[in-house]
Symmetry: C2
Subunit: 436 residues, 2 copies
């Protein structure tokens, strides 16, 4: 066997995650070298923000403002992209792959939108692209789908993969806090951005689900095919109701394969208190995978933060380093042979069936519920239970209905009709229920 | 690249797991071939029991009674050993490795006792031995330690890794059933053997912990170095007390590294209701790993059963097949370079510190508790709270004490003294408390 030189890594982006990647590789340098037999070193870092550079003790020779200083360096075999969702990130990755460099990234947004292009480019140039850190921080769920679960056919993927929204829902549940209060608290504690749209509207979760489902089924599932409903319309009252009915309320990312169709969606979901994801609180992330032979399996851990996320990036770097040293290609990033990747057949949300929690807001007077029930019945939606909290004749009151399993398209039609009734004061809130 | 022939596997043992391995490889034959690019086939099965052979539709040419029919077949590159804890299993594995064949096994007992010999033999002959199925059935925790968590230093491993005892404790907690009643129920439902010793005395869990800790720290931790306490002395009353104090009671396998010493033990443990393992009920298995950078992470799933366990065996076979096709050795079975494996420095149980739940059984008369408290104080054990259920002057009553953090050796000395007091009627029950 030829002698193994040290593995040189070029890093783009010295933000929270990038900084921690630099730190863990330095801190654990000897430990890693002892484990795998040779050292791994970051030899160049491209970062434009002078403030970020000052946070670490860095030799000036290691720092650069020029992309080409990394991409044109023949000694660098692994490019780590931690810039975030900017077009330049995609350009850098495509260029690195075309130059025969392996890529490690945490860029969920770019993978969710342009993954197919990147995977194809990696395949074409016989290099690898790994992205464990793009989903659920420290939890090695992608590697597990690719290797640990390789022998089994995946039936479903369900995940609590956005820590911000789970923190908000936990706070709303435990303290009966309003959504806005819980959001402000999350922002104060650094768990939510100033503009929280991506987290609370399920955009971040949908990007991650795109990657998870792509890995699970070996077909590319782009972001824009994923149905989304956020949590901003949820009230503490809905959460209390959920508990009353024996459920926990979570923003769930769900993917399920039936026949050749894949159902992918992110929405607030009521799950039974016995569900394996029911007790995942706060900023924790958890993903439940169900396989034909293995049954359900859950992985849970920190979904964000520099240090936890850096462990995933560093493990990807080590995997590639091991392959370089053995002079082989890695396992294809999706587990499936790359030339087979195709676009998926997605089941439209209208085609799914589910149980539903419906919160109607109606004027409290005799006969109002009869009208709602009539419309539901007309659309073949069968009622499992009804609950009306308080009574105030002539005022708006919430009426909660749990349905039996019904067709989503029927529910959509029924709600359109119901929301037009003169006695119905607000748009009806719909929350889907998942039993297992 | 040379053309890849199909991969031939020889299987020893057609019991529950062996049968399911045969089934999954047959069921998913095309699926696996599509994923990895070539087929994997079991071409010979060695099984002595004629009844087991009849359960599957097997060509007679595939079946044999002779070990040599597999070991001497040059076409077979992977040997799967699923015989169980018998000396012949070890002999078969050593022989297979020495002949340059890769080995997949689920044999926790043999690995926990003779792992070092097997790993060394694999290293010597440049072949691989994988054993994902030996710990926690369908949960790919070993692969995760080896690859997903490769970049991080592991601080602790905690697991509920014996489904039988967790089923029994769950039943005792939910139905206030006595240990014997819960055990009989587990036996009736096929979750416990006729002789349940290995499960209820923590032997099975200690074998698995030996493997987990060996993987986590890269040093061989043999079974006989692991402290064990079983669950047969636990009463529903202790579980109720635990709940009263805010704890869940679990049979936990624990390993922790401090400085260069490793603490490894299996015992009933009280963990806070907020602990990530507190809600793992029934026959489920779960392992929590804490890393320096990544924080705590949990994997949970089915720990036993033919089908779930078979997915782990099959994934190991596929990993080896992928390596054969790429003409490389796999990642060393322990993640660490095999030549570095040494015996570990184990911290004796007397050296640990913990909080304790102590259930004294004393004759209820004035001054009895004062004597117990005096002995505890004398040994520097500080009391956090005391609880006495009921009062019956002159009769034996249980007195429960929660201690602050204390040295185990002091606790052992104190209990020796206390159990000799004339007013103390039974051996005191000790349960350790783990906070995180």
């Amino acid at each position: 066997m030829t002698r193994i030189p040290k593995i040189n890594v070029g890093l783009f982006g010295l933000g929270t995650v990038g900084g921690s990647v630099f730190q863990i590789l330095k801190d654990h340098e000897h430990f890693i070298a002892e484990k795998i037999g040779y050292p791994i070193q970051i030899t160049k870092i491209c970062e434009l923000d002078p403030k970020k550079k000052q946070q670490y003790e860095l030799a000036s020779s290691i720092l650069t403002n020029k992309i080409s200083d990394i991409l044109d360096d023949p000694e660098i075999s692994i490019v780590v992209e931690l810039i975030g969702d900017k077009p330049i990130a995609k350009e850098i990755m495509l260029k690195a792959l075309s130059l025969g460099k392996h890529v490690v990234t945490a860029n969920k947004a770019i993978l969710a939108h342009h993954g197919l292009e990147l995977y194809s480019e990696a395949f074409k140039h016989e290099v690898d692209i790994y992205f464990e850190a793009a989903v659920a921080g420290s939890i090695p769920i992608l590697r597990t789908l690719r290797e640990g679960f390789v022998s089994d056919k995946i039936i479903s993927v369900q995940g609590i993969i956005n820590g911000t929204s789970n923190y908000i829902l936990t706070k709303m549940a435990k303290e009966k806090a309003d959504f806005k209060v819980a959001l402000a608290d999350a922002q104060k504690n650094g768990y939510a951005e100033a503009d929280p749209t991506s987290d609370i509207e399920g955009i971040d979760a949908a990007c991650k689900l795109s990657i998870l489902a792509t890995m699970a089924y070996g077909v590319f599932i782009p972001y824009d095919k994923i149905y989304r409903q956020g949590i901003s319309e949820i009230t503490p009252f809905d959460i209390e109701m959920a508990q009353k009915f024996g459920f926990s309320l979570k923003l769930l990312a769900i993917s399920r394969k039936t026949n050749q169709e894949i159902d992918v969606r992110v929405h607030p979901t009521m799950i039974p208190a016995t569900h394996l994801l029911a007790h995942v609180y706060g900023v924790l992330n958890a993903v439940m995978i169900e396989g034909e032979y293995m049954g359900p399996s859950v992985m849970m851990g920190k979904g964000a933060g520099g240090k936890p996320t850096a462990t995933a990036v560093a493990s990807d770097i080590i995997e590639i380093a091991r392959n370089i040293s053995r002079q082989v290609r890695g396992i294809p990033p999706l587990g499936f042979k790359a030339e087979n990747i195709q676009k998926a057949k997605i089941k439209p949300i209208e085609e799914i069936e589910s149980e539903y929690y419906l919160r109607f807001t109606a004027v409290d007077k005799p006969g109002v519920f009869a009208k709602i029930a009539h419309v539901l019945g007309h659309h073949e939606i069968s009622i499992a239970s009804v609950h009306q909290e308080g009574r105030e004749e002539g005022h708006e009151v919430p009426i909660m209905v749990l349905t039996h399993r019904a067709k989503e398209k029927n529910v959509i039609c029924a709600l359109k009709e119901i929301d037009k009734l003169p006695t119905v004061a607000q748009k009806t809130l719909l929350i889907r229920i998942e039993r297992s």
